[in-house]
Every structure is written in C-alpha cells, then in structure tokens.
Symmetry: C2
Subunit: 221 residues, 2 copies
C-alpha cells in the first residue's frame, strides 16, 4: 500500500512542478477575484490548500510568484498563436485568419485570465517586467502578422494602407476586444468576438475572406 501514490488520504509531499502549478493557479484565481493589491499570501496559499510558508519555498517571494504567473500567462498565449501559425500546408490567408482568431481561443479568452492580464498591465512594476521579459513575443507575433499581410496585399495593387498599418490595426482591434470582454463579459457570448474579427479581416482583404453571413441563427448550438 505504500507504493500507491494517490489513493492515500492526502499526500503531504508533491513534486515541485505540481506545487508550482497549484500556486500559480491559485494566484490567477485570487487576482481575478480580488485584484493584485488584495491578493495576499494568505489568500493564495489558503486557496491552494497549503500553508503560508510554501511560497518562499517554491518561489523566492511574492513578487517572484507574481512574475512567474505573468510568464505562465504569456507562454500560454504564445503557444496558442504559435500553434495557429505552425502549419506548413496552410495558405497565408488561412494563417492570418488562424493567427487573428487565436486571441479568442477558449483556453486564453476567459474571464479569469483576462482580468489577470489587465491587473498586470495596470501595475507599473509588472508592466516593466512584461516589457523586458515578454515583449519579444509581441514583436515576434507582430512580424509574422505583418509578413502575412504583406503577402496578401500583393493581390491588392490599389491598396491604400501598408502591411504594417493593417497588421497594427488588427492588433489594436483584438486588444480592444480583450479590454471590452474584460469589462463587459456578458456582451461577448459564444463567438461574438471571433465574428467581429472575421468582419474586420473581410473589410481589409475582401478577396481572401468571406463576410460571415448574419449572426447565423442556429449554427454552433
């Protein structure tokens, strides 16, 4: 009976990675619910079902726990859009569409995580950390988006906007949807954000993207 790990009442010791994940999860929940300033160590460890000292053990300090939480979020976002683009047989249009819609993938376009993102953006310290640690992701994504727009633009000799202006505009638009979805989550039901994004793509690249017809009465359940 000593060899079976999980059926026991409650394991006292767990692998480092499990504890770290457990604490980051609890931190996300606390920040979303309480805001950063009210997210105390007691709140985080209490929600994780652990004791106060555990944070210094697996993370250096509270600050470090918050930074690691931000890194976790960023990598989740990054892997979501990277996967959307990483398909050798997709056309440029398909890639741009997948990249643009990846911002609204359920695993990241989620009330809790959106609140945490904006909690970090609102704090001067996290903003600085974000810029130095993570903004290279943003740059990478921006370059990819710009290159895809440039490729599509070859079919629009009369175009009045540059690839960079269009890819910037797409980025602004999806960021704005994020902000509004955070503030007014009830307004963004079931793919509403993605629909808006597709309309935006169709406006810029009408030869490549169909306008999704009206709200689609009974489609995706």
């Amino acid at each position: 009976m000593t060899t079976e790990p999980q059926t026991k009442t409650k394991k006292r010791t767990m692998p480092k990675e499990v504890r770290r994940a457990q604490l980051i999860e609890a931190t996300l929940a606390c920040i979303a619910e309480l805001g950063i300033s009210k997210t105390t160590m007691a709140a985080v460890t209490g929600r994780a079902g652990l004791s106060m000292g555990i944070v210094s053990l697996h993370f250096e300090s509270k600050d470090n726990l918050l930074n690691e939480t931000l890194v976790h979020l960023s990598e989740e976002v990054r892997s979501t859009w990277a996967e959307a683009v990483d398909a050798p047989d997709k056309s440029a249009a398909e890639k741009l569409r997948a990249l643009s819609l990846s911002s609204f993938h359920p695993s990241i376009f989620d009330a809790t995580k959106l609140r945490v993102w904006f909690a970090f953006f609102g704090e001067a310290k996290s903003r600085a950390y974000y810029r130095e640690m993570v903004s290279s992701y943003d740059n990478e994504r921006g370059h990819i988006a710009k290159a895809l727009c440039a490729e599509l633009l070859q079919d629009y000799p009369e175009a009045s906007m540059s690839a960079e202006e269009i890819s910037d505009a797409l980025e602004f638009f999806s960021d704005g949807i994020w902000l509004n979805a955070m503030l007014y989550p009830e307004y963004f039901k079931e793919g509403h954000a993605a629909l808006q994004m597709e309309q935006m793509l169709a406006a810029y690249f009408p030869k490549h993207f169909q306008l999704p017809l009206r709200p689609a009465p009974a489609c995706t359940q």
Copy 2:
C-alpha cells in the same frame, strides 16, 4: 501687503477646491509612476507637498480619494467627446469623425492618464465602481456613435455590417490603441493614433471620409 494672496512665501491655507485638485493631481502622478498598490498616502501627500492628515480632511479616506480621482478622469473624457459632438451645424460625418478622434485629444491621450485608466481597470474593486459609475457614460457615447453610423449607413445600401457592429468596432479599435499607447508610448508619435483612426473610418465609410494620404512628410512641423 496682507491683501495680496500669492506673493507671500507660502500660503498655509487654501480654498478647498485647490487642495482637492492638488491631491487628485498628485494621485494621478503616483498611480502612473508607482501603480495603485504602491500608491501610499505618504507618497501622494509628499508629492503634493502637504502632510499626511490632509487626505482625511478633504476626502474621507484613501478609497474615496481614489474614487474621486476616477470620477475626475471620467468627466474629463466625457466632456472631451461631448464637446466634439455638441455642434449643431456639423454633419453626421463630421460629428462621427470628431467623436472618434476625441479619444486622442492631447488633454486625455496622455501617458500619465492612460496608465491611470488601466490601473483602475486592473483593480477588481475599481472595476465594480467603474461599472456602476461610468458605464452610463459609455452607453451614452455608444448610443450616439451608433446613431451617427446608422445615419451614414443610409448611403451604403449594400453594406454588410450593421450600425451597431460598426460603432462597436470603432470603439474596440480606439480602446486597443489606448492599450498599445499605454504599453508602448514611444510608438505613438504626433498624431499616429489619429491617423490610424481616420484610416479605419475611411475603410467603413469610403464615401464620407478621404483616406489621409501617406504620413505627410512635412506637415505639422
């Protein structure tokens, strides 16, 4: 010499409104520089050149000071867009343009104030307060924008998007520019945001808005 108010070394007492403005100003600066969680009473009053007790005197508490700061910001924004729309002899197109560009008026589109806005968005407590106080402003602005879009849409019988979808899209777009201008202020030089907005308007309403020609080499100094 006793009747001249300002040449004296340093007045000890000042009208209530002056002190309130002074404290709100200092609060804005502190939140922008330090974030909400590090914005202490000592920091605010120190920056205002006053003593700690002054806040309880003119505002009830720290919470109330923060709320009043948010009110101040909101009314500044509101009066900016209200003024843009409140001109009886403007056409609908001119009004929509003025309304859209008002988000980037220098008095509100400013690194300090943008940081403060997002600091409030990021705090759960302020978010609740924000929703109950400001969302009526947002609604009012939204209704006006929608009505203006509907009026312009009469000239586009073939249009594939509704007035609400377009006015939402304009709102998302300017919100996204706000977020990006807050995170990467150096990217938004001299009217770059306004230019992007005008391109957006021209994309939706090509019959009403000219595309502003290329970045304009040497125009506004």
